[in-house]
Amino acid sequence: MRKYLFTLLFLSKSVMFATDSDLGSKIPDLKLKLLNGQKITIHELLKDGPLMIDFWATWCKPCKKVMKYLDQYHQDYADQGFKVLMINQDTPRSLGKVKSYIRSQNHQFFVGLDPNQKIAQKLNGMVMPTLILIDKGGEIKWRHQGFIPGEEIEIEKQIKLILESQASES
């Protein structure tokens, strides 16, 4: 009985705790290595505008579905400083195929490597896909786990919202 009560308590606390209004914490300035060998920090990617981070792996089916849209948004809103950073979590088992896959799809977004989930663990991206939208000031504005086809509309809506708010501030 104790375990059920604990689960219930855990859930009720978290439902109260985890409303969208809790968003707004700053993204830490984590270092990561890109697929092309370049080393970069998250704050460096935020210099020109907002950033969308997504966690993915070559074997993750919904990740591949959402990637198509994220690459499109990366290109469509690049002139407003928006970028997409795809953090790859392939282990050594499939790490050698990541670049081959990205090149074959002609994706233009940034691809970071996180083979033992150091970054994913710090940003709570262990569930794939997990989307994190960050404004230019480094504040987390939106998080989302999983992908149901059709959600790309909501993703684009959130990107537009952050870009509009950035434009009105400047």
């Binding site: 050594p92 088992r93 790490l95 997990t130 086809p149």
Partner: protein
């Protein structure tokens, strides 16, 4: 002490204004008709304060899906960065090269956790980086129980890495030393010292990149009674991994080669085979990481101690719309083997660096092809794949050579003997020993499985946000013991193979004995099918019904112990709802089928809840090269909740 750490962490995070934090919460609960129950709750809390970072993972699980019950801080880590230096204290997960020396992770599904609790010091300045790691790694491995680990190997380890990058080249040196307390099958623990030295290098260019890693390993064991002084050399080994990628336009070709030779055997390694590769080494497997359920169930159980192989994968796009991929890999043990008798095996080195196709080297082949993409104005997503594989699981005998039979010829010779003056007629038997001409003996028996699988998926998204998806997976599988030759048994007294037809050594046989059966009856081919139908409305909910069929098993026939209403609904059995069925005595037509329904609902963009009801077939699940047999889940409910904030 741990609870104080947790309280302090939570209080400081909540009180301090300039601390940034994030957290993730997962709660999983399951209960089935046949007592498969679990309750897992985990809270991950990360905080960031200037150059200080911290992580605490608290878990209350009693019992967990796999592992041991816990109500405590499971993991923690403090990190401090000062200029070019980083110091970490707590549970550390590092990854060097491609993992031939060190690759640490915590995989909850396979319950594999090879992290180190200790200290990490790192330095990084421009092209130069160096790190030192030391502490204790306590790794639990499964025995016969599918949910609770049995074997425990603990490593008191220290390691160092240095890496230098120059333009598109990089070079790294690694070293690890570990004192292991190794749990054996029976008897006292073994105390083993492992030393590894590794080197890796990479080159990145526009249309080509290359990575190579090599590790050399030696282990010694404390063999004296008091375990104070040294040590007989136990095992020596090495590992090589290479990856060459070529790119041309929208096509990429990935080629990989591996040779891991930390031990050798013609059969599986057990807990008594120690001193070889250690749990901190998690290397590339050179197999396809499958994402279809049926292909996942026929995954190869990779051998990190004794396996070599090649893998080629081509990825490309057609008409800038469709993704295409084709993969092939071939793996085997490092040696061919010959059984001089059923217990005494000798190895023979392979002539090339490539894997062997000889059944005695336990070869494995797989290939997978897939095309996927969007059509009909990007509203319809489709995926069609084809996978096949073939694997020799084990060899029971494998002899191929010449043998000479000893021929005993009896002859009686008439003789006369003078017996006190009387001539007695007598006869004497003489035995002449001669040898036959050499003749060929073949005594082979191995177990092989073959399968082909077709996964397909269709998803149509309507303009109003609804999405309808159908997926279907079809699989044909054979698994049989193959015997061939002219001998099947061995005589220890004669030290020779016994011909099935001694009069005619040339007469040979070949039999194929299927390993699949249903209720005791042999079945040649196992057919597995899985269909799932999904209806979803973005961004709120998705509902999926899944049905899984099998016609035979390579073990005892599974029995569905309970007839649940979902099964009755799916099979349109009105008698169930009119009370004419006894749920505890399920009708035959629901056997060998597993039906489940799952509803997932996004409470907010960062909170998700899902409820599953029904049955799930057990089977092999592999991740990161670690495979775990999952027990079936019969007629129960699973509930999960996850949130990030």
């Amino acid at each position: 002490m741990k609870k104080i750490i947790l309280c302090l962490t939570i209080c400081s995070v909540l009180v301090a204004n300039d601390i940034d934090f994030n957290a993730a919460l997962t709660a999983n609960y399951g209960d089935s008709y046949d007592f498969y129950s679990y309750s897992e709750n985990r809270l991950d809390l990360n905080f960031f304060y200037n150059d200080l970072q911290g992580w605490v993972q608290y878990e209350y699980s009693n019992p967990p899906d796999v592992g041991f019950p816990i109500n405590d801080i499971r993991k923690f880590r403090i990190e401090y960065t000062l200029d070019d230096f980083t110091i970490k204290f707590g549970d550390i997960y590092e990854f060097w090269g491609r993992g031939l020396v060190l690759n640490q992770f915590d995989d909850q599904i396979t319950n594999y956790d090879n992290g180190t609790r200790g200290l990490f010091v790192g330095y990084s300045n421009g092209p130069l980086s160096a790190s030192h790691l030391n502490g204790n790694s306590n790794v639990w491995l499964f025995g016969s129980d599918l949910r609770k680990p049995y074997y425990n190997n603990s490593h008191n380890m220290s390691g160092n890495q240095i890496q230098y990058e120059w333009k598109s080249l990089s070079l790294g040196l690694t070293q690890i030393q570990s004192n292991e307390v190794h749990q054996k099958l029976f008897g006292d623990d073994a105390y083993v010292n492992h030393k590894m030295k590794g080197i890796y290098g990479s080159w990145l260019a526009t249309n080509i990149d290359l990575f190579i890693e090599y590790v050399d390993k030696i282990s010694t064991e404390k063999t004296d009674f008091f375990q104070e002084v040294a040590h007989d050399s136990l095992k020596k080994g090495h590992g090589i991994y290479g990856n060459l990628n070529l790119y041309l336009g929208s096509w990429g070709l990935s080629t990989e080669y591996k040779r891991y030779a930390f031990d050798k055997s013609h059969s599986d390694f057990t807990a008594d085979d120690y001193g070889n590769r250690i749990e901190l080494q998690m290397m590339p497997t050179l197999g396809k990481e499958q994402n279809s359920t049926l292909l996942g169930r026929v995954s190869h159980n990779y051998n990190f101690n004794d396996e070599r192989g090649v893998q080629v994968e081509l990825n490309g796009s057609l008409f800038n719309r469709f993704s295409v991929s084709a993969q092939y890999s071939h793996l085997s043990r490092n040696k061919d083997w010959k059984s001089l008798n059923p217990l005494d095996w000798v190895d023979k080195s392979l002539d090339t660096y490539l894997p062997s196709s000889n059944p005695s080297a336990l070869p494995y082949w797989e290939n997978y092809e897939e095309i996927s993409g969007f059509i009909l104005g990007d509203n319809l997503y489709f995926k069609l794949g084809h996978g096949s594989n073939q694997e020799v699981f084990k060899t029971m005998r494998y002899f191929d050579g010449t043998q000479i039979s000893t021929i005993f010829t009896e002859s009686w010779v008439k003789d006369t003997t003078d017996f006190y003056g009387n001539m007695v007629i007598d006869s004497t038997m003489t035995i002449d020993t001669s040898f036959s001409d050499p003749f060929e003996v073949v005594a082979k028996m191995w177990q092989v499985a073959k399968s082909f699988t077709i996964p397909m998926e269709l998803n149509y998204t309507f303009d109003n946000g609804y999405n309808f998806g159908v997926g279907f997976q079809y699989q044909e599988r054979t698994k049989k013991n193959i015997s061939k030759g002219n001998a099947i048994s061995y005589s220890n007294s004669d030290s020779s193979w016994i011909l099935i037809n001694p009069e005619n050594p040339d007469s040979s046989f070949e039999t194929h004995d299927t390993q699949f059966s249903l209720n005791g009856e042999k079945v040649n081919t196992q057919y597995n099918r899985m269909i799932y139908v999904t209806l979803s409305k973005a961004p709120r909910w998705s509902f999926t019904i899944t049905q899984d069929w099998a016609n035979a098993f390579d073990g005892p026939t599974t029995v569905d112990p309970y007839y649940n209403p979902l099964e009755a609904l799916i099979f349109g059995d009105l008698k169930y709802f009119t009370g004419d069925r006894n749920p505890t005595d399920p009708p035959p037509f629901i056997q060998k089928k597993w039906v489940s329904a799952e509803l997932a609902y996004n409470l907010t963009s960062s909170q998700r809840i899902s409820i599953m009801y029904g049955s799930i077939q057990g089977g092999l699940f592999c991740s990161n090269g670690i495979c775990r047999l999952i027990a079936p889940f019969n007629d129960g409910i699973k509930f999960s909740y996850s949130a990030i904030f």
